[in-house]
């Protein structure tokens, strides 16, 4: 059984202002599986539902976000959990940080600005496990930080004394202190310079290779996925439109949206003219009918306007949701 199974998940933001209810269908019928020991990349533009999907997967659903239907099933070996039904207290005690941890874009919001880094480690360890022996805890933390290649002195500094790259690496150290089964990294290097970005991602990759856990890497930057991920899922307007091993996504994409994205990426050494798609990503409060990509798709046929394409397996690991591609396959 996979580590995580997401089945036909729908999560909408429902708001009511002056009696007018409005729903934003940020995640609409998403299914995906994560296995042990892999780096799964989610790519998509802003407001395609990436972050909402992560909120549901990590169990941080708060109104107005609501899970409408579907399951989010975890199998941690010793026990199973359905994220859509779990009791918040149980989630805090058994799952969060220990099994699932989270690295986000601005790690300043993870680190307490008025306390030294070591205190943040202490808070997290105390909350989730308890610290019976302070000396042992300090030793363990020091070892952990050193194993990740960080100077142990950072533990005695305040967050503002660290550079952005160092803070992000400290956030990764925090996220891995309990050896969780799943590390969710949401745009972990977006605000960083390229050289630092490379260092931070190399560290994340090393940790993954060493401990054999699973990393869910979310970023809009496809070039990062090309270099880091094992499998990639492409999201568009609240749905996954294509999923395949990284190699396949970059060399033989099938969905017109993926094909366009890959073709339009600029690269050093390539001066050929790159074209941009017309139109803009849709508003999820009022998405287009049928395939949500059809207004921008150069290949759209009548069927695309009325009928939502289902995810169809082209091969064992390659799934795509497009009428044109899957017509003969079903």
């Amino acid at each position: 059984m996979p580590l995580l199974q997401v089945e036909h998940l729908r999560a909408y933001y429902r708001t009511q202002v002056y009696g007018i209810s409005r729903s934003v269908r940020a995640v609409d019928d998403v299914s995906l599986e994560l296995f042990e020991n892999e780096i799964y990349g989610i790519a998509g533009e802003s407001s395609c539902g990436k972050t909402t999907l992560i909120k549901v997967i990590s169990g941080t659903v708060k109104p107005p976000l609501r899970i409408e239907s579907g399951h989010v099933l975890y199998d941690f070996g010793a026990f199973q959990v359905d994220m859509t039904k779990i009791d918040p207290e149980e989630l805090r005690q058994t799952v969060r940080w220990k099994e699932i941890s989270y690295v986000m874009q601005g790690s300043m919001s993870v680190l307490n600005p008025v306390r030294k880094i070591i205190r943040t480690f202490e808070d997290i360890v105390r909350t989730h496990q308890g610290i019976p022996n302070k000396k042992f805890f300090l030793e363990q933390t020091r070892d952990h930080v050193m194993r990740l290649g960080l100077p142990p002195d950072v533990l005695n500094l305040y967050p503002h004394q660290l550079s952005g790259g160092m803070r992000q690496r400290v956030a990764i150290a925090l996220a891995t202190i309990f050896q969780p089964s799943l590390i969710i990294a949401d745009e972990p290097t977006t605000a960083l310079d390229v050289v630092v970005q490379r260092g931070v991602l190399q560290m994340l990759k090393e940790i993954q290779a060493e401990s054999g856990n699973t990393v869910l890497l979310v970023t809009h930057d496809l070039a990062i996925h090309a270099n880091v991920a094992d499998r990639v899922g492409i999201m568009y307007a609240g749905r996954i439109v294509e999923e395949a091993p990284t190699q396949v996504i970059f060399t033989a994409p099938r969905h017109p949206y993926t094909q366009h994205l890959i073709r339009s990426l600029p690269m050093i050494g390539d001066k050929s003219v790159k074209e941009s798609l017309s139109g803009a990503p849709p508003n999820l409060a009022n998405p287009p009918s049928g395939c949500r990509f059809h207004p921008r798709c150069p290949l759209a046929i009548d069927r695309c306007r009325t009928e939502t394409p289902a995810m169809v397996h082209l091969s064992h690991q390659h799934r795509v949701a497009c009428h044109l591609v899957t017509e003969g396959v079903e």
């Binding site: 060399t251 600029p266 050494g269």
Partner: protein, 342 residues
């Protein structure tokens, strides 16, 4: 200075005072930078570097928003330091137009975007009133692939990131500028729309013969559109020249590290990108470093790099500021003070 240069940046240095009243120091945000753009040959000139390299400070100097501490900026034969009167300032602003990073900050959310376009047309004397300005505004919008019909009565939040950034380029085109200064114009724009903005600058160069100074941290788009590039590190231009040479076959060790670190959207170069790099030494303050700013993490560092400023040398069609390419490099060598002239 000769009139055949559109823009001539002559040994510009900007220093800021940092720290407290007593223990404060000076920080050279831009350190002895020189380059020039020809008037008769429109081009896209990229200034690339990481955060803290002084790109944006340099942009402020070029926009006459900040006086350089030393050096001169000459635009079409006129030293910016001599622009004092409002009329002269308006004339300069008409010819040099900016495009900024975040279009949602450029435009007030409470005003219709068309108001900015009409205002620009009237302010710079292209039209007397809104009715006369309408065709001018419409034409500028057509150049960026939009029309007045599409943006009429719209507020910034009603347009997508790509659309509104194109409106800000259209606004910059209304005064018919000779130079556009674009500071990270695509970093807030989604991937599927990014190339539409980038291609726009290319079109402006080729069809409108407008020169563009393109300031960015994104080397891939810089390679794609620019003709020449200058790589900045801690206020210093370390390498500059034709983009095919500087990014295609970089010579300065810093340019090499930077170019290698840009992840490529292909699966064939994963191993090279995964080659471990040393970040530990990066956290030091490099601004205050005497000698080469990159000496602290350069794999080829020599003794001389640590205490003498490297000379700018002409090597293989580009300018490189590095002792590695200095044939007579040695402790006895006097460090040259001249900076790279392009």
């Amino acid at each position: 200075m000769s009139k055949d240069k559109l823009l001539h940046v002559d040994r510009v240095t900007v220093s800021f005072h940092v720290g407290g009243f007593i223990a404060g120091g000076r920080l050279l945000a831009v350190n002895n930078v020189s380059f020039s753009l020809e008037a008769d040959r429109p081009e896209i000139f990229a200034i690339a570097g990481e955060s803290g390299s002084g790109k944006t400070t340099l942009a402020r100097v070029l926009l006459h928003d900040l006086e350089p501490t030393q050096g001169r900026v000459i635009f079409e034969g006129r030293d910016l330091a001599t622009i004092k009167r409002r009329g002269d300032a308006m004339e300069f602003m008409r010819k040099v137009q900016p495009v900024f990073q975040n279009p949602f900050e450029t435009f007030s959310p409470l005003r219709r975007v068309e108001d900015y376009l009409f205002e620009t047309a009237i302010q710079f004397g292209r039209a007397r009133n809104r009715r006369a300005a309408a065709p001018i505004v419409d034409e500028a919008l057509h150049q960026v692939g939009l029309s007045l019909e599409e943006v009429r009565q719209r507020y910034p939040h009603e347009l997508s990131g790509g659309q509104i950034q194109r409106v800000s380029v259209a606004r910059a085109l209304i005064p018919q500028p000779h130079l556009i200064l674009a500071d990270e114009p695509v970093s807030m724009v989604d991937a599927s729309l990014r190339m539409s903005i980038v291609n726009l600058f290319r079109k402006l160069r080729d069809e409108q013969r407008v020169s563009v100074v393109y300031i960015t941290h994104d080397l891939a788009t810089a390679y794609y559109i620019s003709d020449r590039i200058a790589i900045m590190l801690r206020g210093v231009v370390v390498e500059s020249g034709p983009v095919e040479q500087v990014l295609g076959a970089p010579l300065h060790p810093y340019t090499r590290l930077l170019q290698e670190s840009v992840p490529k959207p292909v699966v064939t170069e994963r191993e090279q990108w995964a080659r471990p790099i040393n970040l530990g030494a990066m956290e030091v303050k490099e601004y205050g470093r005497v000698g080469c700013k990159f000496a602290g993490r350069c794999p080829h560092v020599m003794e001389i790099c640590k205490h003498a400023e490297p000379p700018t040398l002409e090597v293989e069609g580009r300018a490189v500021k590095c002792f590695l390419y200095d044939e007579g490099a040695g402790p006895s060598n006097q460090p040259s003070l001249s900076s790279g002239k392009l």
